[in-house]
Subunit: 641 residues, 2 copies
């Protein structure tokens, strides 16, 4: 018997499974950012000892495997003495009660991928046609399908139509059901993918953005273009690893790995489709078209393509082109004859999600030079204009999403999302998700950690307040109780224990700042290398894409040096542009072609083999940069900055 | 416990199943021509009474259901007293021993569908290409699929290729398995349907003719056109009904009916494919293309399309066009990415098999007027030339195949296939299948019944010998022991009991002659109506198609008046032209287009609504015809004929 506290979730599991596996099996969610590699330390739990009469068991530390190397590496001696262990490293050998501290509990992430408001010219791939056929007679007993073909050709100029095989099997009964009156759904003026008896109205399609962390679906009325329902969920693959690399390792680890990940996302998408359909008052099987974007890894796993080669040099994907695959072949439960259109990917990790951004923002139609930054678990860049487009992928690491940050967490309730530091008093004000007001006005909701946008603010505000210097080092001349020593390192308190729900202060330490520097340095260097390759000295506009981008304070991003100098007026967030791209491709079939052409036209720059990258990267580690001037930030930056 | 004798096959069955159902379940084949409708009487069996110690049971007549109406209709009073019953009408209620007389045992039909020798221009739909790809590097890490596309475009001008989704899933490993060297199978210069690592040689395809009674498969080397193996089998659907109409009834009878018939043929085709592959020394999965012909009903059931509308006016099929369907979607276990090309059907029962004949014989390229007669379980006619083509379907009934004939049987060992009658002595000579020599020289093999070609000979020879007159009536002036009374009717002995294995004489009775008259009259009338519609008085050539056609004596066919007058020199059999058509379409993709165009160009004539049909039919019941003169038969026909 295994019992998780405080949730009380319990059950029997096989001898030898890890506590993490047991938690997944029983539904007691424990946080895992590294996918079980004992590097993130987020899955810390405590083995309770004693007799638990309520459950009729005695829990002993001997009921789990001995302290592992991973435990020693990530937990302090005191924690080990207190029976803290890593859930991913500890195996169950008998009856045991496990306490999951709040910071190790997986929060329900706040999902804020709304459908952006954009003007899209309507030209869907699937259209409905309503026809009444001439019934067969002995003098005219041509086949039902040919009868339908003739009518569609005469009335709508639709020629050489084929028919989906399972639809053909239902054809005879359908035409006879309502006196030879039918409504036909035609895909790309080419194939009959659905038939309904009688006169039926609207067609619906689903645009899906498979993010590493979040999956968002936009159900659209194909005849009006309107979004009639949206639905989102955590990517169910998160249970198997937080980032792209840990999912690749998981899929390679065992024969079942890929299948599990694939089935998780397919099941998730079926849920998204189902719930969106319910919201819109239609049946899931009424959805006759679907478009999908996602980064290269999500793209591969969704298609059940082995992603192992994405994880090792030369990082080549299986396929770049867009694909049209029958929903039923993928296990997607919408209209059985429907196709799923998977947008093309660009190169390396610059995937179909970035192509979504591309066709949404259309830099290839602009005179101005645009830098599009998509900050997800991976950073992706596009730079260029109508003449030329370059792209790159930056190994920013997961710091911006809260991983590898001591008190980092996802954007879930309790996360500090905005921070202000008074440059004189060094006092901190913050705002947490789930609470409208700033700072410690929170009554019911206390801070649990810091999410991505909070991290941007903290780095910028600490720099502007002189708590850290240009090189990121903590100042040792400041007199404030918030700056203090912890072991050999300095740390800065963002929220005092009384303001938190984790029975301790929420702090930023030196290694957190280093992680931010590495992440932003990689992004900046990527942008700069692309500028060099394009031969430009300045950029006209910066577009922050990705759901996450909408929540970043652009000034904070500029101050830490996330991107080269640009007028802040021309820096803006476009929300989930990848999702918009999926929606645009859903509503306008010409944009699918455009995506294929443009994805190929974008020249991919592999940063790791660019000779100047390392040098630029090293300089970009500083706040905002070692040498580059930022004329547009002059009024903000400290004079020695 | 049910025991079948003399085979000894036994087992337990559910209470209340018919003896026919029990025989199918246990694998004791009992003949059934009418599909359980109590009209053919072929399934006569005997209930044995007594104690069977060997099996520890006592068999009683009370262990089966009482005498039914069907039994009374088809069995004599003596037979009923002797415990003979119809297997399809008698239900099992307890332990019983059932004797299956030889004439009720289902013989292994002689299957003689050889691949005809024809010159076919090679242009297969599937071709293999061998390429070596440039391995991916960091500077060139385009996807594996695009790498393959580029190579195929540059070397073979194959552009805009798509790829079968399951093949895409295997692509990455396949290209890396043999150092980026692969062999690619491309369908219609359009889709990659298979990839093998390394350099692979030949491609194979399977052409299939699904006859109502026989299924034949021709495995071809697509690069040489050669037939490398053939395989044939009884259509496994025969167990559910002998002819097209009884299969339609079976499929309509229950929800499971269609699925059972469909699965039977799919399983059968997989066996044919498997055995042919073994003979050719390849794997079944090496078969990368397949073509299928069959009459409209076989076509529908093979595709799992409900055939109910084929059985009732206005007899319209679900689809006429040719179809390309993934083998895996049909359950056909060849190369999983392969397509099955199903040839178009013409109209009504003039199906894809007839289209096979059409593209094999190409009447649309001839100056001469051809009459093509396909004698199967159903009769099909094509008449015309390069200017115009007409087709019709004749309800000949199954008489030509041995059904509805007292001693009729299929073309299996023991069947009388050729007959000569001395016009003076009225003595009979015959030849049976499985025996090289004529008449009673048979030592090991005795006659068991009469098959189709024997029936043609008998009718012609009896007419020429004056045993029957022009109207088909038995002469009552002849003095020969072979002509005798049986009840109120006359009958003519073809084989004496000592020459047979059925413990009795094999005879032809008046109603047999009537059945032949109805069948040949329908065929003749069909041909004549088509001639009227085409506006011709004579025909230049008659082609007897269908495996069966090869075994008919053309003089016998002409003498009974199967077709209007034609020089016997210009009457010939082409064997299984439908199968040839399938093979032609397999080897030459242009012929598939031709089939679609020509199937549409042929004008279908629904004989039942032609005003002159009944009159012509009535006249054609006579031997050879009431009024028509047969100048080319003048030297053969009796003077008063």
């Amino acid at each position: 018997m295994v019992i998780f506290q405080p949730s009380g979730i319990r059950g029997k599991v096989d001898d030898g499974v890890t506590i993490m596996e047991a938690s997944r099996e029983l539904g007691a969610d424990i946080e895992s950012l590294c996918g079980g590699k004992a590097t993130c330390g987020k899955c810390r739990i405590k083995i309770e000892e004693g007799e638990f009469r309520k459950y009729g068991i005695t829990s002993k530390i001997e009921s789990v495997s001995p302290i592992s190397e991973g435990d020693r590496k990530l937990l302090s001696k005191q924690q080990l003495r207190d029976n803290y262990r890593l859930a991913c490293q500890t195996r169950i050998r008998g009856d045991v009660v496990i306490f999951v501290p709040e910071e190790s509990r997986k929060g329900q992430q706040v999902i804020r991928k709304d459908a952006g408001a954009r003007d899209i010219r309507l030209k869907p791939a699937v259209k409905k046609y309503h026809v009444t056929l001439t019934p067969a007679t002995l003098h005219d007993n041509i086949g039902d399908f040919e009868r339908l073909q003739t009518e569609l050709a005469e009335r709508f100029k639709l020629r050489e139509l084929t028919i989906d095989y399972p639809v053909l099997l239902r054809l005879q009964n359908l035409v006879r059901e309502d006196d030879w009156e039918v409504t036909v759904s035609v895909w790309k003026n080419r194939e009959i993918i659905n038939i309904e008896s009688g006169q039926e109205g609207k067609s619906h399609g689903l645009a899906v953005d498979i993010g590493t962390t979040t999956v968002a679906g936009y159900l659209c009325d194909l005849s009006s273009g309107e979004v009639v329902a949206t639905d989102a969920m955590m990517n169910p693959q998160v249970a198997y690893g937080e980032d792209v690399m840990s999912r690749i390792s998981y899929s390679v680890k065992s024969e079942e790995g890929l299948r599990q990940l694939n089935q998780a996302i397919i099941k998730g998408l079926n849920q998204v489709a189902g719930r969106a359909a319910v919201k819109a008052g239609i049946k899931r099987s009424d959805i006759v078209d679907m478009t999908v974007v996602g980064n290269t890894c999500m793209h591969h796993i969704f298609l059940n393509i082995d992603p192992r080669y994405l994880g090792k040099t030369p990082f080549s994907p299986s396929v770049h082109h867009s694909l049209d695959i029958k929903a039923r072949d993928l296990g997607i439960k919408i209209s059985p004859g429907a196709y799923v259109h998977v947008l093309p990917i660009e190169a390396g990790f610059v995937g179909a999600d970035n192509v979504g951004v591309l066709i949404a923002e259309e830099p290839y139609n602009q005179e101005e030079t645009l830098l599009i930054i998509d900050i997800g678990t991976n950073g992706e860049l596009i730079l260029g204009n109508r003449n030329k487009l370059l792209s790159a992928s930056c190994a920013t690491g997961p710091a911006f999403e809260g991983a590898e940050i001591k008190h980092g967490m996802r954007a879930a309730p309790g996360a500090i999302e905005r921070v202000k530091i008074d440059p004189k008093t060094k006092e901190v004000q913050f705002k947490i998700i789930g609470n409208e007001r700033w700072s410690n006005g929170a009554k019911n909701l206390k801070a649990r950690g810091i999410c991505g946008s909070g991290i941007f603010d903290i780095a910028a505000q600490m720099f502007l307040a002189g708590i850290i210097d240009k090189s990121g080092r903590f100042s040792n001349r400041l007199k404030t109780p918030r700056l203090r020593k912890s072991g050999k390192e300095l740390e800065f308190v963002i929220a005092w224990a009384k303001e938190t729900s984790i029975e301790g202060d929420i702090v930023v330490c030196q290694s957190d700042i280093r992680a931010i520097q590495l992440a932003k340095g990689a992004m900046y260097a990527g942008g700069r290398v692309l500028m060099n390759r394009l031969g430009v000295d300045s950029i006209d506009r910066v577009i922050l894409a990705g759901a996450f981008g909408s929540y970043i304070d652009r000034e904070s991003a500029a101050v830490i040096g996330l991107f080269p100098d640009c007028d802040l007026e021309n820096v803006y967030a476009v929300g989930n542009a990848a999702g918009d791209g999926a929606r645009i491709a859903l509503l306008n079939v010409d944009k699918r072609k455009e995506a294929d052409i443009m994805a190929r036209r974008v020249e991919y720059v592999e940063l790791t083999v660019e000779p100047d990258f390392n040098n630029i990267f090293t300089q970009a580690l500083l706040f905002p940069h070692m040498e580059d001037k930022f004329p547009h930030l002059k009024h903000i930056l400290p004079e020695n900055g």
